[in-house]
């Protein structure tokens, strides 16, 4: 076994499913608090030469880690034709999603459990392969195992050549609303879930927790809030943006529809993979022009899912 693991041998598995990862960043950090005990007060110097008698680190919480993974979006990762795929829960953040942890995870030679999806996102650029990114919180420790590899003989990934986007300002097609051809330079989707961890005091106090490196792990990690956000870059921004985050062309601000950005993901072969949308308020927009570049507008729409 060579000391350094090659990319081709470092399989990445989430929830016992092998994924086509481009990169992964696994990190752990104990939450330690420094404790200092002072002593040996020298009264002749009025206490100005107090010595630190002991120094210790005490854990404030259980071991917490994180995983950030960038991967190729394949149709097997998502529901296809409204049929829920068993790998859905790895990447789909939705209202009513399960509080159950994702177990059976591997990054190269290391295994770990108790993982919870924190964010998912992807971006589309013209003619580019669509890569997605996901971030997870991990509670507990990790184990070592031999490395594995797997075979993938062919691939039909999500690709911006066939995928497309749609933007509506207060439910009016953007091109109609701005009265001009509206083109998208890029599209980015991000969904973020805020979680709350629950620990049982008695369980955490028991000395048995120190018999494994996992130590204290939460008994439940519940979903507190879910927010989706989509950002597009294009040739126009929304005119008549009002303080409510709506596009207001007329004289009445009430009752305007929400704005929306949608991404419809197709594979390179033209098969549907998934659709993502964000319907809500325009949270920000900007326009920039610089030497050697075009005037480019950026619009961000946010949706509160939970």
């Amino acid at each position: 076994m060579t000391p350094f693991l090659r990319f081709e041998d470092g399989k990445i598995t989430l929830g016992n499913k092998d994924i086509l990862a481009q990169s992964a960043q696994l990190s752990f950090a104990p939450s330690l608090q420094t404790e200092r005990v002072y002593g040996n007060v020298n009264q002749s110097t009025l206490g100005s030469s107090i010595e630190t008698q002991s120094r210790t680190f005490s854990p404030k919480a259980g071991l917490k880690g994180s995983l950030a993974v960038t991967f190729i979006v394949n149709e097997e990762f998502f529901a296809k034709d409204s049929t829920v795929n068993n790998i859905d829960s790895l990447f789909h953040i939705k209202s009513g999603m399960s509080d159950q942890p994702i177990n059976g995870n591997r990054v190269g030679r290391y295994l770990f459990d108790n993982m919870y999806l924190k964010s998912f996102g992807f971006s589309m650029q013209p003619f580019g392969v669509i890569f997605a990114k996901a971030e997870y919180d991990i509670y507990g420790s990790l184990r070592k195992s031999p490395s594995f590899r797997f075979q993938k003989l062919s691939i039909d990934p999500a690709h911006a050549l066939k995928s497309f986007g749609e933007v509506k300002a207060s439910n009016i097609d953007m091109a109609t609303y701005v009265g001009n051809q509206f083109e998208l330079n890029s599209l980015e989707y991000n969904i973020l879930v805020e979680r709350k961890i629950h620990n049982h005091i008695r369980a955490s106090e028991h000395t048995s927790i120190n018999t494994t490196a996992n130590s204290v792990v939460p008994v439940r990690v519940s979903t507190e809030s879910i927010e989706a956000q989509m950002t597009i870059k294009g040739n126009e921004i929304v005119k008549n943006l009002n303080p409510l985050g709506d596009a207001q062309s007329g004289g009445v601000a009430d009752g305007l529809s929400d704005s929306s950005i949608a991404a419809y993901i197709y594979s390179l072969a033209g098969d549907r993979i998934a659709s993502f949308s964000c319907t809500g308020k325009i949270m920000s927009q900007s326009l920039s022009i610089a030497e050697g570049q075009y005037s480019e507008g950026t619009i961000t729409v946010k949706e509160i899912i939970k």
Binding site: M124, F127, V129, H159, L161, K162, Y264
Partner: protein, 293 residues
């Protein structure tokens, strides 16, 4: 079955060109290797828009149909798409292109030869067999031949000696803008492709300034090379005009003018094989709507 040179016709913007020496068209697909952890290489997939290239070399035997100008005197090819094809088999088959833009237009000539015209295109539309199979619909300008006595190079700030060769070149830097495909929820619901696939750029802009390079070689009579340091400090600008006229009736065939061009190089050459020659190199910049002086 093969097709000889006399069975081929080169059509550019609906005109069958004369004087064509060779035409070359090509395209190349840019791929990105896809690798995954634990697998390695899986496939290579298209990662950039497809753009083609087309080059054409001609002898100047008429007023060049490509050199049409707009009302303010700018070449139309600076900002306009061009289409064309090589037709053969009685103009029923061909290799053509659409949405091409000129990236370089150059003319060169030496004593004893007809001027050569080289034109480079970048193709943003389609390129290949069966594209633009249309016969010429516009009339070619009358055939005219220059001779070495009917070609002149005039420089604004001195009288040139006998010219032995010249070259004139305009290089255009283009910036295509590509956009994501556009579609609707109903397209996705019915598993249809994007309503607007946006395979071609939504806009192609010329990055100004357009650089003009003019070079000519004189047999030294009166002209004397300038002192390098003087030229650096003065940096004078002048106009250089190349006029190519019909050898019989002296009417203008094509003319090329470099306005406010700056002398950026001089080469004096002496050898046992010939006379003392001086080569002058000028460079100019053409702007969009802010004329430099």
């Amino acid at each position: 079955m093969s097709f000889s040179n006399y069975e081929q016709t080169v059509i550019i913007d609906s005109i069958a060109l004369s004087g064509v020496i060779d035409v070359n068209g090509s395209y190349g697909i840019s791929e990105r290797p896809i690798k995954a952890a634990g697998v390695g290489f899986i496939d290579a997939l298209v990662d950039k828009p497809l753009e083609g290239n087309f080059t054409m070399n001609r002898k100047m035997v008429s007023n060049d149909p490509l050199l049409k100008m707009n009302v303010v005197g700018d070449y139309l090819y600076d900002e306009r798409y061009i289409s064309g094809a090589i037709l053969f088999d009685n103009n029923t088959k061909g290799f053509g292109f659409t949405k091409a833009r000129v990236t370089r237009y150059s003319v060169s000539c030496t004593v004893g030869d007809l001027p050569d015209i080289q034109t480079d295109f970048t193709v943003f539309g389609n390129l290949g067999s069966g594209v633009m199979i249309q016969e010429a619909t516009e009339t070619h300008p009358p055939i005219q031949f220059p001779s070495q006595g009917s070609i002149s190079v005039n420089v604004g700030d001195f009288t040139v000696d006998s010219i032995t060769d010249f070259s004139y070149s305009r290089g255009l830097n283009l910036q295509p803008v590509y956009a994501l495909p556009r579609g609707t929820a109903s397209d996705f619901a019915s598993a249809d492709p994007a309503s607007v696939p946006n395979l071609d750029p939504v806009q192609v802009d010329t990055l100004y300034p357009i650089e003009t390079d003019i070079n000519f070689t004189m047999i030294a009579h009166e002209y004397q090379a300038r002192r390098m340091k003087d030229n650096l400090q003065r940096a004078p600008k002048t106009d250089v005009a190349i006029e190519i006229r019909d050898s019989q009736d002296n009417t203008m065939i094509n003319s090329f003018t470099g306005k406010n061009v700056r002398l950026i190089g001089e080469t004096t050459s002496a050898s046992v094989d010939g006379e003392l020659t001086i080569s002058l190199t000028y460079k100019g910049y053409e702007t969009l709507h802010n004329p430099v002086s």
